[in-house]
């Protein structure tokens, strides 16, 4: 009896709900379909077209991909990009882990203030930040002129700027805040008594990091990898300003193909390969992060 009575409003409610969902979701979805999926589709489409000095030359199949994959410069640039991004990521994690743990466990009074300083560093204009590093590292820059002024060196160290090292230093500083925050958030969820117990039982700093802090921070580390490694890999601004020719990364190569050479077909093919790489990388990290979270959940519950 009741069921029959209840059915009518439920049906009405369901159709109401459908109307509400449509009202909320339509505009964001349409914007993304047109201006996000659209450009990505055009990118994919153009990677199969031939472009020359005369303009568009029609469909060429996988020729652009063939050109990219047999181009030795591409592989060199890719290797440079991989080494810079990976080294910078490792450097960042080496500093982000202790920083996050100090912020999460050791600072009591100024925790929020220090976090805000971290966020602020990330919110300041990246161009200004990269440029500031350039003043510091340049051949006539502050570090060199200070060393010369103090009489420690006779000639400026030329390799400070426009090198791989410069790109690693500047990108590490640039992304440090974004790498630290998710690790901090993961550690904040940890019971600090666990670390104290390890400390009381006489675990050294290294053991404490390896056995306790890193496993507990793992979910945050995977988030940091997702947030930082892909932007780092496709970084264009920093190598353009401080990288010179030896710090030339894949982002610069794509920009050169698209904006300078006008080789849109090859540029699109490279971009599309990079897109596939990004999606695969994020997928893997997401999976690993979930496994990591499950493991922490089980180890903390047992």
């Amino acid at each position: 009896m009741h069921e029959v009575l209840d059915q009518e409003p439920q049906v009405r409610r369901r159709s109401h709900q459908r109307g509400r969902i449509v009202a909320y979701v339509t505009s964001p979805v349409v914007v993304l379909l047109v201006f996000f999926i659209g450009p990505m589709a055009v990118l994919g489409y153009m990677s199969f077209l031939k472009f020359g000095i005369a303009g568009v030359g029609g469909y060429t199949g996988f020729e652009n991909y063939h050109d990219v994959l047999t181009d030795t410069t591409f592989w060199q640039v890719l290797w440079t990009t991989f080494t810079i991004a990976t080294v910078a990521m490792i450097v960042m994690l080496v500093f982000a882990l202790p920083l996050a743990s100090v912020l999460a466990f050791k600072i009591k009074r100024f925790e929020i203030q220090l976090l805000l300083l971290l966020v602020l560093a990330d919110q300041l204009n990246p161009l200004i930040r990269v440029y500031a590093w350039r003043i510091l590292l340049g051949k006539n820059g502050i570090i060199n002129s200070a060393l010369e002024f103090l009489g420690l060196i006779n000639q400026p160290i030329a390799s400070l700027l426009f090198s791989k090292t410069a790109v690693v230093i500047v990108t590490s500083a640039e992304y440090l805040a974004i790498a630290t925050i998710p690790i901090y958030a993961a550690l904040k969820a940890v019971d600090p008594s666990m670390l104290e117990a390890a400390n009381d039982l006489g675990a050294g700093m290294f053991t404490r990091y390896r056995k306790i802090l890193i496993p507990l921070a793992a979910p945050g580390i995977f988030v940091a990898l997702i947030l930082v490694y892909i932007p780092l890999f496709t970084e264009f601004l920093t190598p353009a300003l401080v990288g010179g020719t030896s710090g030339f990364m894949i982002g610069n190569y794509i920009e050169q193909q698209i904006l300078k050479t006008g080789n849109w077909g090859v540029g699109s093919a490279m971009s599309f390969l990079l897109l596939i790489f990004s999606v695969v990388f994020v997928g893997i990290m997401y999976r690993l992060g979930r496994i990591g979270r499950l493991q922490t959940a089980t180890t903390t519950s047992t």
Binding site: I21, R134, I135, N140, L237, L275
Partner: protein
């Protein structure tokens, strides 16, 4: 127990205490030095930039040559700088509200209902967060040229919206999932329309997240370089102007001055936002804004 034994024990105890304290002090010093180092890495270069913006020399090198404000005067007499700044501010002022609206709609649509297409919709909204800005920029350039849309401030703005509103969705959705839907259901059962539910229940709940999103969306838009660089026509924005200036001349003191000004304004805005959030907290007892400010 003899008196000597008690004494020995007490001394041993004190020794342990003293060594523990010593270790603690050493730890504090190491931590302090570490934090100072991180601070120097994050803010040191900027501080030097500020100092050199007042230095009376066209060459940016030590030793300092004397105090001047002439670079600041030059900033405002350079029409290109003023134009670039104006463009950046206009874009940010348009992009921010659009992103807030789209981002909030998507957040409510994803986190408040259960339906078959929910996962694909969430995936679509999350996708621009995964795709690098470089590719969004390049894709936008090719897309607009394919459709014969001339590049302008509009094309910059559109592509910025695509990359920024999903971030607003993430912030707002994180806030929404902390409240269950019972309030909204109660309001609906009492006969509230969807608009009334949104206006009187949902919006007050997510107000702190919206405030945080507004600040972040503005600075993400203002700071954006990569997407803007590829989708810009002849008009430049502030980051594009800095980039092209640095690529033509090596170190221009005028860049120091304008960078200092922009950084100062950004610091003031974020500080004001933080104070406002503290004020809000004290008034409503809602301590939810701080985490949103941080993430």
């Amino acid at each position: 127990m003899t008196a000597e034994a008690v004494d020995v024990e007490r001394i041993a105890d004190r020794r342990v205490l003293v060594s523990a304290r010593r270790r603690e002090i050493a730890g504090t010093i190491v931590r302090g030095a570490f934090l100072v180092f991180i601070g120097a890495v994050l803010y040191g270069p900027l501080l030097i930039l500020v100092i050199f913006s007042f230095n009376d020399s066209i060459i940016i090198a030590l030793p300092l040559e004397g105090f001047t404000t002439k670079w600041y005067q030059q900033v405002f007499s350079d029409p290109l700088v003023v134009e670039a700044l104006k463009n950046s501010i206009i874009i940010a002022l348009v992009v921010t509200p659009v992103c807030i609206v789209l981002g909030t709609l998507a957040a409510v649509g994803i986190s408040r209902f259960r339906y078959i297409l929910r996962a694909p919709v969430a995936g679509l909204v999350g996708a621009p967060l995964v795709v690098p800005w470089l590719l969004i920029g390049v894709g936008g350039l090719l897309f607009f040229s394919r459709l014969h849309v001339p590049l302008s401030l509009n094309t910059i703005g559109v592509m910025q919206v695509v990359s920024i509103f999903p971030l607003v969705t993430a912030i707002v959705a994180a806030r929404l999932v902390r409240f269950d839907t019972s309030l909204e259901e109660a309001a609906r059962d009492l006969g509230a329309t969807q608009w009334e539910v949104l206006r009187y229940i949902v919006l007050p709940l997510i107000a702190p997240a919206l405030a945080a999103s507004a600040i972040f969306a503005f600075s993400w838009s203002f700071n954006n370089f990569t997407i803007s660089y590829f989708t810009a026509g002849f008009q430049s924005t502030f980051p594009i102007w800095v980039f092209s200036t640095l690529n033509h001349a090596k170190n221009v003191p005028i860049v120091n001055a304008i960078s200092t000004l922009v950084a100062a304004v950004q610091v003031v805005i974020l500080y004001a936002a933080w104070r406002l959030s503290r004020h809000w907290q004290a008034r409503t007892g809602d301590n939810a804004l701080t985490p949103e400010m941080v993430i």
